[in-house]
């Protein structure tokens, strides 16, 4: 197994999913399941990427799958705190802009 980890914490009206380690194909289904589950419990899901050291298109696949599920129910999924190579992937694919949290929301994370 890889070193990928996902932890979920609930706040008022929102769930934060904190990722750590490396997110690749081996972690994809796990991440998708966690994000979809979070979306059944809150209308705003924040994915904190600060401790994620690697992500490729497999992780983007999970985020966009969750994004479409959220749109279906009027919920939202946002990514926050991406850095380094993870931020590069989000920028390269345009997904960072698509899932950017509104400014007033980012302050609470």
């Amino acid at each position: 197994m890889g070193n990928f980890e996902a932890r979920t914490s609930a706040g008022p009206g929102r769930i934060t999913v904190t990722l750590a380690g490396e997110c690749d194909l081996a972690a994809r289904e796990h991440l998708t399941a966690i994000l979809l589950d979070a979306l059944t419990r809150a209308r705003a899901v924040f994915v904190d990427l600060a401790r994620l050291t690697f992500m490729d298109s497999s992780g983007v696949h999970s985020l966009i799958t969750a994004h479409h599920a959220a749109k279906h129910t009027g919920a939202h999924i946002y990514v926050v705190n991406a850095a380094g190579p993870v931020a590069s992937v989000l920028e390269l694919t345009g997904v960072g802009a698509l899932l950017r949290a509104p400014a007033e929301e980012r302050r609470h994370v």
Partner: protein
């Protein structure tokens, strides 16, 4: 590039040209025939066949690229590109694949060989809303050159990043 001792190889030379003699210990075991047209032989390759191998692939690529003189910022891009290509193997082909890294003409070259078909490079990055289809587009954006060609038993994808 001067090449320091290469810990996992019996022969230390993986620079250009030098040491092309058959001094033994150079055979790379792997599922695919070595077309032998370019690049040195030696402990510069690795096979993969399952998603849980991808992390080891990135570790291998990082260590090799460091030894070959690439900067850490460039290595981040290289490992992303290799991760995309090896993921592509696992999702669209059977039988896994094999990678090799070497330096040629001031560039770091990584060959990825698997049993798949030639890859459809040249496509635009999918929209941000698209669920998938980004892997090869990411590779093309990152690398200075990308080639694909059929080889005996499968397909070779060669990516090049300036050192």
């Amino acid at each position: 590039m001067s090449e320091p001792f290469d810990g996992d190889s019996m022969t230390g030379s993986s620079g250009d040209a030098a040491g092309s003699g058959s001094s033994g210990g150079a055979a790379v075991p792997g599922p695919f025939g070595d077309e032998g047209t370019s690049g040195p032989s030696g402990g510069d390759g690795m096979s993969y066949e399952a998603p849980d191998d991808l992390r080891a692939v990135r570790v291998f690529v990082t260590e090799r690229a460091l030894a070959l003189g690439m900067s850490e910022a460039r290595i981040d891009l290289l490992t992303l590109a290799v991760s995309e290509l090896t993921t592509n193997t696992l999702q669209h082909t059977t039988g896994g694949g094999h990678i090799r890294l070497f330096v040629d003409g001031g560039r770091l070259v990584c060959d990825v060989v698997d049993r798949g078909a030639e890859r459809p490079f040249g496509r635009a990055m999918p929209s941000a809303e698209a669920v998938g289809g980004r892997g090869l587009a990411i590779v093309e954006r990152i690398c200075d050159d990308v080639y694909t060609t059929t080889v005996p038993g499968g397909t070779l994808v060669r990516i090049c990043l300036d050192l």
